[in-house]
């Protein structure tokens, strides 16, 4: 009832509101056509209505969100608006937010109220954004379907019998179902890009080191990166502008001059209006178009590449000869680092402690056996094994060497092209439970995405059509180190000429 009352006051009708860009929302707020309180309440109402059927949000705290919204409104009124003032953003439940329950999708942290803010959360708060809620995810970010969440699986708004992808499935669904104008997620092996692809939205993983990992609960330290998820490349650029930047508390955070990632969105490289992407060379690696790729996905991606050519880009053939090794290497490195990162979850200082135990050793073993889900335990065991005495060289070291080969492949490829493009995922969203019993089959979902994490390269996914069952297909763009702006520009140009990114699932009006 309340939402309808507000709806009648809104200058933008709800359908327009839920598809407004961040820039449009910002303008509405600045012009006081809408307040942040109204905007935030609007989205909270949508969450109340839609989330029960989608399970995208783990925690919503209207009082906290509205308090932030009121503060944002005050700043706007005082003429001190910041880039994201008043914009509600959903946070993947992997980012520590002070005073918020931060569960990482796990029973292990089901009671963990974070005593501090992650760096990214501090940046968003400082930019005036409102924390809309904490989104559901695969437990400890280990998964490609958002089915391993302690809080139950997330559902794809395009088809609620299907998964939204993972591990940032809650954030993807929140944006896809228009419960949030934007969200933040993390990507270790594709966990931003793949759910973006399967849910029909846009998601970006920056160059490793561009976004601080301080406060982002660690899965695989050398692969994890936080990034934005939203409805358009332009929105991603605005979000990245706020998220990116040096943080002295993260030793792997890079000190670089500040960048405006939106600076070349509208700039045609050659000044040619008809062919705004003339001069852009797009590499489509043959390894990404071979066996294993669904024909429906392949068709949509080919159509997208053709569209880029229409915009003036030149398609070149490139090869990433070691592509097939990226999944095996990833499934050594990621579990190895994770097995060590998750050792701190022992029931001593925070988190789950088993209710019954006989002694200290028993307390550890039971707390961890009960607190962690099956997939997390599997990965910890693999990681522990590959690091253990006698196996380190054959597995961990070998994987790090393959990692170098993969990175070198990209270096070579980028001598011939500016952006690498291909499918984000070999298939569209699959049914809930379809791959849950076969870990390896689930891992193969990551086949096109993990290489960018291994090499530390920036990559993003944008919608480019539909496949089997009317499910969204995602196109992956990958750039050379620090070329996010160029990547976003190409995506933006594509989005000016097409409307895949404007499609919304039925039932979320």
């Amino acid at each position: 009832m309340r939402s309808r009352f507000f709806a009648s006051l809104l200058p933008l009708s709800p359908p327009a509101m839920i598809n407004a860009s961040l820039k449009q929302l910002s303008t509405q707020l600045a012009q006081k056509k809408i307040s942040s309180v109204e905007l935030t309440q609007f989205h909270l109402d949508r969450i109340a209505r839609l989330n029960p059927g989608l399970n995208a949000f783990v925690t919503v705290d209207a009082a906290r969100s509205l308090a932030q919204a009121r503060a944002a409104d005050a700043r706007i009124a005082a003429g001190k608006a910041q880039p994201l003032s008043g914009i509600p953003v959903a946070h993947k439940d992997i980012f520590c937010a002070k005073g918020w329950l931060t569960t990482c999708g796990s029973k292990m942290l089901a009671n963990f109220v974070s005593p501090y803010d992650a760096h990214v959360v501090e940046r968003l708060n400082a930019a005036g954004a409102v924390i809309l809620g904490k989104t559901n995810m695969d437990e400890f970010a280990m998964g490609s379907s958002s089915e391993t969440c302690f809080w139950g699986p997330v559902r794809n708004p395009w088809d609620r019998t299907r998964v939204p992808g993972g591990s940032s499935g809650g954030s993807a669904t929140a944006v896809a179902a228009r419960m949030a104008p934007a969200a933040i997620g993390t990507d270790t092996g594709g966990s931003i890009r793949q759910p973006a692809a399967l849910s029909g939205i846009c998601g970006l993983k920056p160059t490793y080191g561009v976004v601080s990992r301080y406060g982002m609960i660690a899965f695989a330290s050398s692969l994890d990166q936080g990034g934005p998820m939203a409805k358009s490349a332009e929105d991603l650029a605005l979000m990245l502008n706020v998220m990116a930047g040096f943080d002295a508390r993260d030793s792997t955070s890079l000190e670089r001059p500040a960048e405006d990632y939106a600076r070349v969105l509208e700039a045609p490289p050659t000044g040619d209006r008809a062919k705004p992407l003339r001069g852009l060379r797009i590499g489509a690696p043959k390894e990404y178009f071979g066996a294993g790729l669904g024909s429906d996905v392949g068709a949509a991606v080919e159509a997208a590449l053709a569209q880029f050519e229409k915009l003036g880009a030149q398609r070149v053939a490139v090869s990433l000869p070691n592509a097939a090794l990226s999944v095996p290497a990833y499934y050594v490195i990621a579990p190895a680092e994770a097995s060590s990162n998750l050792s701190r979850f022992d029931g001593v200082r925070y988190g789950y402690r088993a209710p019954d135990y006989t002694d200290l050793a028993d307390m550890y073993r039971k707390s961890r056996a009960q607190g962690f889900g099956a997939e997390v335990k599997r990965r910890i065991l693999i990681g522990t094994y590959v690091l253990s005495h006698g196996y380190y060289d054959a597995y961990y070291l070998k994987a790090q060497k393959i990692r170098r080969l993969i990175a070198q492949d990209f270096v070579q490829a980028y001598k011939q092209c500016d952006l690498i493009m291909g499918p984000t995922s070999p298939n569209v969203a699959f049914a809930l439970g379809a791959k849950a019993s076969d870990p390896v089959e689930m891992y193969l979902n990551d086949i096109y995405t993990v290489a960018a994490n291994l090499a530390g390269l920036p990559a993003m996914s944008i919608p480019c059509g539909f496949g089997e069952g009317g499910m969204p297909v995602g196109l992956q763009l990958a750039g050379n180190y620090f070329t996010e702006a160029r990547m976003l520009q190409a995506a933006h140009r594509y989005q000016l000429a097409t409307d895949w990114h404007l499609r919304q699932p039925a039932g979320v009006e």
Binding site: A329, V332, V348, R368, R378, T384
Partner: protein
């Protein structure tokens, strides 16, 4: 390569995760499937290749030696499972 059941249990012990015999058997099968995936790494020769630990060739930044943290133990311990007199309590540690 393939994990034996005793090895599965040894690894579970190293990782401090309690595992019943039944669970160990199920996990053994799953882990061995995953190892088949990982074994594909052996198909390429990596002789002479330097392992890559980080994407960028950067070196560790150093922090000035200054006290920058204040006492927040009350806040941190408000979420602890068991605390007394400022100490975290655990089952007795035997040296």
């Amino acid at each position: 390569m393939s994990l034996s059941l005793p090895e599965v249990k040894r690894v579970a012990l190293l990782a401090r995760i309690e595992i019943t015999d039944g669970e160990a058997e199920v996990v053994q099968g799953q882990l061995n499937d995953i190892f088949k995936l990982i074994e594909q790494m052996q198909s390429v020769d990596t002789e002479g290749i330097t392992p890559m630990a980080h994407a960028q060739d950067v070196v560790q930044r150093l922090r000035e030696d200054r006290v920058t943290e204040t006492d927040q133990h009350a806040l941190y311990q408000s979420i602890a499972p068991q605390v007394e007199n400022g100490l975290y309590l655990v089952p007795k540690v035997i040296e």
